[in-house]
Every structure is written in structure tokens, then in C-alpha cells.
């Protein structure tokens, strides 16, 4: 979309031009300025929780919206990130002094209840904070790489990829619930109080965590924009529209897909880690198939072709979810179902699509008022995308069926 590169390449083009940066600035002001001012700390903590889903939605824009790869297993990566953080916090909460009443002091309480007498090996690295951060980022990336490598190198795409990732999410939930002694089972890992001796439950701590989460989200959005406007991003768009031509041009399509899937998984994992920090626990219900497909709807509502739109989508759908399900729990399920159908049938480009359809002309007029230069390619550029969603999926059936 850096169509003005002929005019002059500026650093802004690396992020999609001035317009996109302005939109990110607006969302930054909303998250870091407006919300903390209007909401009390209880609400703000909830908003912070919604924002953690925006990481996942932004990742889905990269791999689903632009790459045409629908992953129904983003909950896996969200969970890996969340559980990584939860394991670190849990180990800290179960120091030998705190757990002196247990038959084996020094291990998490649920392990003691399940007659475990020593810490399992895979819990050991989570004693160290830097190692935890490293693992939160690398374990999901590794999993995504393995899944992506196995599938994309064999040109499995589209529908098959969706079904298999969904199955993996389901397997992971069963595994977590079944291995109660190692994972905390269906209750998850609860009772998380401090981060390196610093209580995460005070109002002040929750403000700090909210801002950290907001800043991390803005950085992720910038990173996403950077990826989309890099050479990989260009290839991604080319590949989604005409996969065969990109392949015939000598590019390995699989590598591009693997890259974008790994990027999406890391985004989700960061979101998961912030989720644990702000909510104070992690449980398998945020990992499974239902949670994973809900993450897709956050992205679809916001706009599958817009990173920034997806962030709004995640926030708004969650806001609607908690306000509706507080008062009318039954209605919410129906509303969610209707949302799935509506977003597919009526507005496949989501909120971002609606905004650019209706606000686009207005902006054009405003731009005409303020500067006399022809506003041409900037506004025109996103237009062709409107026709794409149908075409893209058409391509992905083709690629799924090549395997027969």
C-alpha cells in the first residue's frame, strides 16, 4: 500500500503511511488517555482484559485476513503464554514459607492435593523471570513453527488447517483438564498474588499492568503494520490473491505462511501473559475450541483486513459480551450466534470496512478542504480490497484440494 513510494520514501511508509500511524495514535490516546480517565479501576481492569484479546485478533488479521490461513487454535498460543506467566506467579506464590502446611512444602497447592512430591521438570525453568519471558515468547513460536511447517510444506491450507488447529486446541484442553496434578486441571492455576515480590492485586499495580498491556498492544500493532508493509507483507497479499503466481515467481509460499503464523502465535502468547497478570488466574476455558473460535469473531467483527479494526473489534465484542451476559445470559449466546452469521453475510470486512465505506468519502472531502494537493492514491489504495475476501477464500479451496 506504499503506493507513494515514487514520490518520496519516508519512515512512515514502513508502517503503512501517515494515515495508519494517525489511526494508531488515536487508539493509543483512547487506551492510554481516555479510558483510564473515564473508568474506575474495576472497569479499567476489565478493559485491560479485553485488550489482551486484541493481541490475538491482531495476530489473526495477519494470518487469516492477509494470509488466508484461518487458525481455530489461537487459544492454544494464548493459553501457552497465559500458562507460562501463571506458572511463574504460582511458583512464587508457593514458596516453602507460604506452603508450610502442605505435606510437601514448596510446590503449588494443587500438586500437593494430587499427591505429587516434587516439582515436575517442565516447571523448573519458571523459577526465573527472564527465562519465563523467554519461554512465553519461544514455546508458542516453536509450536506454531512445527504445526505450520508440517502443514504448509505439504500445501495443506484453508479448511483442513482450520479443522486440524481446532482439533489441537481440543486436545490441549483435554490434556490440561486430565493432567490435574501438573496443570491445575479444570480450575486452572489460581491464587496468583505477586510478581517478583510486588503485589499485583493493589489498585496501583492494576493501573501499572493496564498501561503495560496498552503499550505492548500499541507496539504489537506497530509491529504488525511493519510486517504488512515489509516485503513479506507484500508477498502475503500477493500470495492470498494468486498463490500459484507467487510460487511460480520462485518464492516458497510455505515459508511466508509459516512466518506469519508464528508471528500471530507470538502476538497471542503476549496477550495471554497479560491476561494472566491482569485477571490473576489462567484456566483451560481460555484455551479450548470455543474460546479460540470466539477470538476469530473478535477479529472478524473488527475487520479481518485491519489490524487496528481488529483491536477495536476485540474490545467492543467483549464489552458487549460482559454487559449483555451480566443481565441477559441467554440472550448473549443468541446474539453471539447472530453476530457470527451477520459478520459473514452482511459485513465481511467488519467495522473497519464499514468505517472506510462511510467515513472514507467524508475524510476525502475534509482533506480537500484543508490541503489543495490532490489526495489521490492514499484513499484509493484500500479500495480493491473490498472485492477480495470472496476471491481469497476461493483460492484457499483450491490449495486445500490440491492435496487430493
Amino acid at each position: 500500500m506504499s503506493t507513494q513510494s515514487v514520490v518520496k520514501a519516508s519512515w512512515m511508509d514502513k508502517f503503512g503511511g501517515r494515515g495508519k500511524l494517525l489511526q494508531i495514535l488515536i487508539i493509543a490516546i483512547l487506551i492510554l488517555g481516555v479510558l483510564p480517565m473515564v473508568a474506575d479501576i474495576f472497569r479499567l481492569n476489565l478493559y485491560g482484559k479485553y485488550l489482551t484479546y486484541a493481541f490475538v485478533a491482531a495476530g489473526l488479521v495477519l494470518c487469516w485476513g492477509y494470509g488466508g490461513i484461518l487458525s481455530l487454535g489461537q487459544g492454544i498460543f494464548f493459553g501457552l503464554g497465559g500458562y507460562g506467566m501463571a506458572m511463574f506467579l504460582k511458583l512464587e506464590a508457593s514458596s516453602p514459607e507460604n506452603t508450610a502446611i502442605q505435606s510437601t512444602p514448596g510446590i503449588p497447592d494443587f500438586m500437593d492435593w494430587n499427591q505429587l512430591t516434587e516439582l515436575p521438570w517442565f516447571w523448573e525453568p519458571f523459577h526465573s523471570f527472564p527465562l519465563t519471558i523467554l519461554l512465553i515468547l519461544t514455546v508458542p513460536a516453536f509450536f506454531a513453527f512445527v504445526i505450520g511447517y508440517a502443514m504448509f510444506k505439504r500445501r495443506v491450507g484453508g479448511v483442513y488447517f482450520a479443522i486440524i488447529t481446532q482439533a489441537i486446541a481440543s486436545i490441549m484442553t483435554i490434556l490440561i483438564i486430565g493432567q490435574q496434578g501438573y496443570t491445575g486441571g479444570i480450575n486452572g492455576i489460581t491464587d496468583l498474588r505477586t510478581l517478583m515480590g510486588w503485589s499485583i492485586q493493589t489498585d496501583f499495580a492494576q493501573y501499572v499492568l493496564y498501561f503495560a498491556c496498552g503499550i505492548a498492544l500499541i507496539l504489537c500493532l506497530l509491529a504488525g503494520q511493519y510486517i504488512l508493509n515489509s516485503r513479506y507483507g507484500q508477498l502475503l497479499i500477493a500470495m492470498r490473491d494468486q498463490e500459484d503466481r507467487v510460487r511460480f515467481s520462485g518464492y516458497d509460499v510455505a515459508n511466508i505462511k509459516i512466518f506469519v503464523f508464528v508471528a500471530a502465535s507470538v502476538f497471542s502468547a503476549i496477550g495471554g501473559a497479560f491476561f494472566t497478570l491482569q485477571v490473576g488466574f489462567m484456566s483451560p476455558s481460555f484455551v479450548g475450541t470455543v474460546a479460540s473460535i470466539e477470538m476469530v469473531i473478535f477479529c472478524a467483527v473488527g475487520g479481518r483486513l485491519s489490524l487496528i479494526g481488529a483491536a477495536y473489534g476485540a474490545f467492543l465484542v467483549n464489552l458487549a459480551k460482559s454487559s449483555l451476559s451480566e443481565s441477559f445470559p441467554q440472550l448473549w449466546v443468541v446474539a453471539m450466534g447472530a453476530l457470527f452469521i451477520a459478520v459473514v453475510m452482511l459485513f465481511p470486512r467488519g467495522l473497519a470496512g464499514l468505517v472506510s465505506d462511510y467515513a472514507g468519502p467524508v475524510r476525502e472531502r475534509l482533506a480537500g478542504l484543508f490541503n489543495r494537493k490532490p489526495p489521490a492514491p492514499k484513499v484509493e489504495a484500500p479500495k480493491p480490497e473490498s472485492a477480495r475476501p470472496q476471491k481469497r477464500d476461493g483460492v484457499s479451496i483450491g490449495s486445500a484440494q490440491e492435496t487430493h
Binding site: I163, A167, V333, P348, I397
Partner: protein, 307 residues
């Protein structure tokens, strides 16, 4: 596997084999409808489990009518219930194709999301109408009791009934797809829509009937399901992920593959669950399937047709 004698192991395999058989029937009954809708048409119907649930609830209603209103009909309600379950789900499937699926044929991933939404709505309707608790049908006398094969082994009659329905339905679907004129039209449409149109096949009508029939089969599956388990609003959706894996593992377009993979997965899972916990048995079975699929994405029985 130390600690078991050979004789005991045989007995274990036999007993677990029988319990695997009922899981096999559930998988296959659900997978048959999907094999048509997904295997032939390439449509992902995430609401398929809800169609099964609908069939089960229709059977429940019929049994309720038969036991409370016209008790003298109790012995005969089951065949009627199967027909009603088929009709009910067939009609709903027809409508869903007409108003939803039709617009999404070239967007399979979007179909997946839309049908998931449909499934959520149906689940909530079931919950409001029938309540969140599980419902069991009143069984006619001739389905109670069991058949004593040897003094060790005894097979419940309702289990036999489900196996019978599964076999009949599988044969029926096979004949429909591979031996009937309608089957030729379906396969022609999926292989090359334009040519099928040119050959005078009304492909829109074929699509509608195919989808409705797949849903109708799910309804019959639901009716059979009521004889071995009770029905709740989320009964069908419990199996949806596994069933899709069954169909993909078998090779999407191959009916024989679907049967083989349903059998393999169900038996592996139930035999393993004797030695390990139930959840680990499921994890290991499904994980193996996923890993095999990563090396052989076309499934067990790949169709030779180039699409």
C-alpha cells in the same frame, strides 16, 4: 501390560471392543451426514451436531407423546420417531441451505463461522425449549434387556439396535452416493459444476437436496443416539470436533475411509482407556491422528479424482 494373563487380555479387548463399538456408532452416525456435506460438497457445517441434537429431541417428543398421551402406541413409536426426526432435520437443513449456505459456497472458511453461529443459536433454542437438563426417552419394552451371547458376555439390545441402524444407514448412504442417479448428479456437481450445469443438471437443486439429506441423516443419527444416551442441548457439539477429524482422517471424499477411520479412532480410544485414564486415551488417540494427518494430509483413503 504386565499383570494380565493372555485370557484376561482377550476378555479386556472383547469388552472394551464392545464399548468401542458404541462410540464407533456415534462417530459413524455423525460422520455419515458430514461425509456427504463436507466430503462431497466441501461445506463445513459446524452446526451438524445441533442437527443430531434436534433429531434426538424430536425422538424424545415422540416418545413423550407415545408414553403419556397414547400409551398403546409405545411399542411402535420408534420407527415413527426416526421418520419424523429425518423429516424435521431435512426441512431445517433445506432452509439453512436456501437462506445461508447458498451464498457462501465460494467462501468455505466463512461458512464455518456462519454455521458455528447457527449452532450457537440452535443450542440456545434447545436450552430454552427443553431446559438445560438432559432428557431420556421412554424405551419400548422390546428395546430393554440384553442378549446373552455366552455366560461372560452380554450385549444390551439397545446397543444392538444402534449397531443395526448404523449398518443400514451406511449401506443406504453408499447406495445413494455411488449407485443411484442422484449420487451421480451429486458427484458430477462437486467435481465440475460448470460441466454438470452444461449436462443439464440443476446444480442449485442438487446442492439444496444434498445438504438437506446430510442433515436428515444427522437427524436419524440423533434418533438412534437416544437409545444409548440421554440428550442435552450440547450433546451434538460434544462430538463435532472429533467427527470432523474422523472425516478428514478417513479421506474426505471416501465413504469407506470414513467408516475405517471411525472404527479405528473409536476402538483405539476405548481400548486405551482401559490402560490409561479416559482423557489420556483420548489425547493419545487424537494426537496420533493429528500427527498422521500432518504426514498424510489426504487421509487414509485418498480419492483418486483430481479436483
Amino acid at each position: 501390560m504386565g499383570g494380565y494373563t493372555g485370557e484376561e487380555l482377550t476378555a479386556i479387548f472383547l469388552m472394551q471392543g464392545f464399548s468401542g463399538l458404541s462410540l464407533f456408532c456415534v462417530f459413524l452416525l455423525m460422520a455419515l451426514g458430514l461425509a456427504i456435506i463436507f466430503g462431497q460438497m466441501g461445506v463445513i457445517n459446524m452446526a451438524h451436531g445441533e442437527f443430531l441434537t434436534l433429531g434426538a429431541y424430536i425422538t424424545y417428543l415422540t416418545s413423550y407423546l407415545a408414553s403419556d398421551v397414547w400409551p398403546f402406541l409405545l411399542d411402535y413409536y420408534f420407527p415413527v420417531a426416526i421418520i419424523l426426526a429425518f423429516l424435521g432435520t431435512f426441512i431445517l437443513g433445506y432452509l439453512v441451505e436456501r437462506f445461508l449456505i447458498r451464498f457462501l459456497y465460494n467462501r468455505p472458511l466463512d461458512t464455518l463461522l456462519a454455521t458455528w453461529g447457527l449452532g450457537l443459536i440452535l443450542q440456545q433454542i434447545f436450552r430454552s425449549v427443553f431446559g438445560p437438563r438432559e432428557k431420556s426417552v421412554v424405551m419400548p419394552d422390546w428395546l430393554m434387556g440384553s442378549y446373552q451371547a455366552t455366560d461372560m458376555v452380554d450385549i444390551p439390545l439397545n446397543g444392538l439396535m444402534v449397531v443395526g441402524i448404523t449398518i443400514l444407514l451406511t449401506i443406504g448412504v453408499f447406495i445413494l452416493l455411488y449407485k443411484s442417479r442422484w449420487g451421480i448428479k451429486v458427484r458430477a456437481t462437486t467435481q465440475n459444476r460448470t460441466m454438470a450445469n452444461a449436462a443439464g443438471i440443476n446444480t442449485d437443486r442438487v446442492d439444496r437436496l444434498t445438504f438437506a439429506l446430510g442433515c436428515g441423516i444427522a437427524g436419524v443419527a440423533g434418533a438412534a443416539f437416544t437409545t444409548i444416551a440421554s440428550t442435552g442441548p450440547t450433546t451434538g457439539s460434544l462430538y463435532i470436533v472429533d467427527t470432523f477429524l474422523v472425516v478428514v482422517f478417513g479421506g474426505a471424499a471416501s465413504l469407506l475411509g470414513t467408516v475405517a477411520s471411525a472404527f479405528g479412532i473409536a476402538q483405539a480410544q476405548s481400548i486405551l482407556s482401559f490402560f490409561l485414564s479416559g482423557s489420556m486415551a483420548k489425547v493419545i488417540t487424537l494426537m496420533t491422528v493429528v500427527i498422521i494427518l500432518m504426514f498424510r494430509p489426504q487421509g487414509l483413503f485418498a480419492s483418486k479424482v483430481r479436483r
